[in-house]
Symmetry: C2
Subunit: 211 residues, 2 copies
Amino acid sequence: MVIREHGAPVPSLRERKRERTRQALVDAAAEMFERKGYDETTVAEIAAAAEIGTRTFFGYFASKEDILFPDSDARARTTIEAIANRDPAEGPVDVLVRALETVAETDADMVSPMAAVRMRLFRTVPAVRGKALQIQMSAQQEIARALQAAFPDELDRVGAAALTGALTGAVNGALDALMDDEDAATVALDADLLRERVRQATELALRTWRS
Amino acid sequence: MVIREHGAPVPSLRERKRERTRQALVDAAAEMFERKGYDETTVAEIAAAAEIGTRTFFGYFASKEDILFPDSDARARTTIEAIANRDPAEGPVDVLVRALETVAETDADMVSPMAAVRMRLFRTVPAVRGKALQIQMSAQQEIARALQAAFPDELDRVGAAALTGALTGAVNGALDALMDDEDAATVALDADLLRERVRQATELALRTWRS
DNA sequence: ATGCGAGTTTGCATTGAGTGCATGTTAGCT
DNA sequence: AGCTAACATGCACTCAATGCAAACTCGCAT
């Protein structure tokens, strides 16, 4: 008998099966988007490639765009966790700077094949860009809430939101500009280079706020 | 004979007609979105209300979302103009702060009926939010370019983008939090109150950077 | 004023995303 | 083995959006 203490509960057969199908969908979609392009790939084709019915696709992802962001809340979770693990001596700005740097270093999703595809599609397909920005914004809201909760005396709700917006906005702006510099396709293809760019953008953008 | 010196050229009959139809579409859409909701209003209904064929709608707006942003580049233009009219003594941050404050004061589109509808839909309809964020981002890119052009010695491309992202991000974050505070519907209904909120958010967000 | 051409309007057909519904199928638990 | 809830699937449907071709209208030069 396998002993697990406080870890994730043993996934049932149903859950494992569902997870396998989900992953098959993501992989199939990534491959086809890469090969044929986003608009040229239909949901029906993705479903067929994963050997499920077209209708069933929407039981896994609410829309075609959603499959590009299979765990969209990972970044927000990492950031909030980093805020929770703060040094009692740090102020709000320091904590947030460190949290965002942590994310830039350890973003797990950055290495998945889907991440590379997504990066390219972000720059070319409006619908994808829109979805990404929505996710980014709701992450920002969560982070602002967490930050305000961590510093109830120093920050009010609006102040926390403004500060969070300023730092994430700076990182995004810098990243956007960096990606424009060189051939975006080249960067997206190389996971290490991509990660390096994120680090670089974070570093450049946050330099101002470092204490 | 009407004498016009250097002003806009006399619009031809064709152009006037087209502009009238365009406005009729915007008005009809605003009214129907308000009354029935966004998803519940079809493009065919909007077209019918403006007395044109459904197909023709797409000759005026590329998508259903686009009708919510009838002159999407107004804000970017105002900001860039404010950058152009800078005081030679000002630094990049001061110029950008002043430019964004100018926009908050004199945003012409803020009073149109569509602006109120848009504000409400932004918070409730994902597609609208996505489109708004896309427009916001491309505006940011233009502003960053203009800022870098204005300060080629002080700023590089990435620095300009990071700075622009920081300030606009702060304003957006603050505005978002402010809108959440009270009943968003109430605010959107009152154009003056709405404008006041934008001013307030800008003021709060940019306080840090004021010299 | 006449008529040619570019810009517009429109209907029709088509594709593809997404939803509601009703019906089968399967895992999990007793 | 049998019951139940979750899941899969097909079907019909709505709606956004596009391509195409035919009609129409304004602007302009002759």
